[in-house]
Symmetry: C2
Subunit: 266 residues, 2 copies
DNA sequence: CCTTGTCATTGCAAATATTGAACGTTATTC
DNA sequence: GAATAACGTTCAATATTTGCAATGACAAGG
């Protein structure tokens, strides 16, 4: 694997390739992710360089992806970009995902009742979370996050959820914790205390740490025993989250997450 | 290629595999599409059988896809399904697609002004179209179609658009035309006349053929010279589309499609 | 107008992913 | 409850894809 030419190529790709018995797929996925990141279409060489691939291999992968309508090829400029095929897959996933289907009405109700933005997220271990459902109240200032967004696992209220109920050791948590970016980062001890509190109350709160002035509440959802698979999240601006509004919100969110867990495990 | 065991396996996959220099990707795409179709998670053998793949190869492809979070694997049931990774790709595509970005506000305005459902679609030759943008008025009966949906190319008003402006020969059109399913199918001559009218007026209409009682209007959008790349579509129920409403809608839709073509080609 | 650099693309040899059969395990049927 | 079928998985041989160097096309710059 000729790699160290460029400082940071793609360590994830590199490790995926070593072991896999279908490396073309790792390459394809890496290409799709790269094309997704870039707003401008890219040429073969640029892609190959950035991912540490051989140009010819990269070309063949791109051609195969283009055939499947997952990437678009412009014959004039010879540039590649994501294509609409990914949309179709996403829609199909949304149609069949139980969590999305069941969570959406709950999120809608919560958003309307409390006048805030609510999210449903799927948890991927200590790596990251993906927002798979969203609802916004009609209120003036709404914090917008789109379905499909990825966030680091341990950040904000969902992060405390994962830490509280995932059964991870401090040794696993600390290095990840230290890489996070917050508006107002808590200390490790402070954070640990908040995680403990989340474990005791069953629900996690981020009071302006991740984004200052913004309070985030997250409740875990279990699909199976073990660690939580999803989370319900409510995001509000200071004023809406002060006073007695917050306890009531926590209670309601917790109720929703419990009901959801029951439905999913059945 | 051991194929003819099962009546209809996947001819598209079969042809893709023959020529490709990255067949694993054709296989992966076929698997993703299959998993998208099915609402229930599937086992390795079931997938392999349905697609005419060798189980072991299928397993390796699935493992690779799972590693990339494009498919989810349930270790208990040993079943595979689509995973949320496809959502992230779709979101990235939406963020960067010019047509989506530019069409959305136009569609919103049209939907509100005329009280109907509007769509933006990307055209894929004579094969199919994919809905990439949508807007719904708040009105009572709204015809819902989701972003990411695929339709046969030649059906409804968009089909007449494609036939009118794509420069296809009758020999290419007719076999495709005959495979379509309509609520009230037009005859070939009838349809040809409507296509000609669309070519003359610049805009296509489907008056209750595709879905009875529903009128669909579609205007072509050009990204480059040659054939149209996209279409703007308005869908309304009978009453809203009768009288003088329809001419005004056609005029407005046509104006929007022209302005969009200008912006995209720039 | 020629040179130089970059780009996409191709041919060939070598590394390796695919195949099909065999294995152990789970689920189904009698 | 035993037998059987189906499943997921592993392994070694082979057909294939990958990687590299070379080619042709193109644009920028001298």
């Amino acid at each position: 694997m000729s790699s160290d030419q460029h400082p940071v190529i793609d360590s994830q790709l590199a490790t995926s390739l070593k072991a896999s018995k279908a490396p073309a797929i790792s390459r394809a996925a890496a290409i799709l992710r790269l094309l997704g990141k870039r707003s401008q279409p890219m040429g073969v060489q640029a892609i190959a360089r950035e991912l540490g691939l051989v140009p010819s291999t990269c070309l063949y992968v791109l051609r195969a992806l283009a055939e499947e309508e997952l990437v678009a090829f412009d014959p004039d400029t010879k540039r590649y970009a994501l294509d609409a095929g990914v949309l179709t897959l996403a829609r199909q996933w949304l149609r069949h995902d139980q969590f999305h289907e069941l969570a959406q009405p709950l999120l809608d109700r919560l958003a309307r009742e409390f006048g805030l933005t609510t999210l449903g997220a799927q948890l991927f271990g200590l790596d990251h979370i993906i927002v798979t459902a969203m609802s916004q109240s009609g209120e003036a200032f709404q914090l917008s996050t789109q379905v499909g967004s990825r966030f680091p696992a341990l950040v904000s209220a969902t992060g405390r959820c994962i830490a509280a109920f995932g059964g991870w050791s401090d040794a696993q948590l600390k290095p990840r914790f230290e890489k996070l970016r917050w508006d107002e980062a808590p200390s490790w001890e402070e954070w640990k205390a908040q995680v403990t509190e989340a474990r005791e109350t069953g629900i996690a709160v981020d009071a302006g740490h991740y984004i200052s002035g913004v309070t985030v509440v997250a409740a875990p959802v279990w699909k199976t025993e073990g660690r939580p698979s999803h989370a319900l999240v409510a995001i509000g601006i200071g004023s809406a989250m002060r006073g007695e509004g917050l306890p009531r919100l926590k209670e309601t969110l917790l109720g929703a997450s419990r009901s959801l867990s029951d439905q999913l495990s059945g």
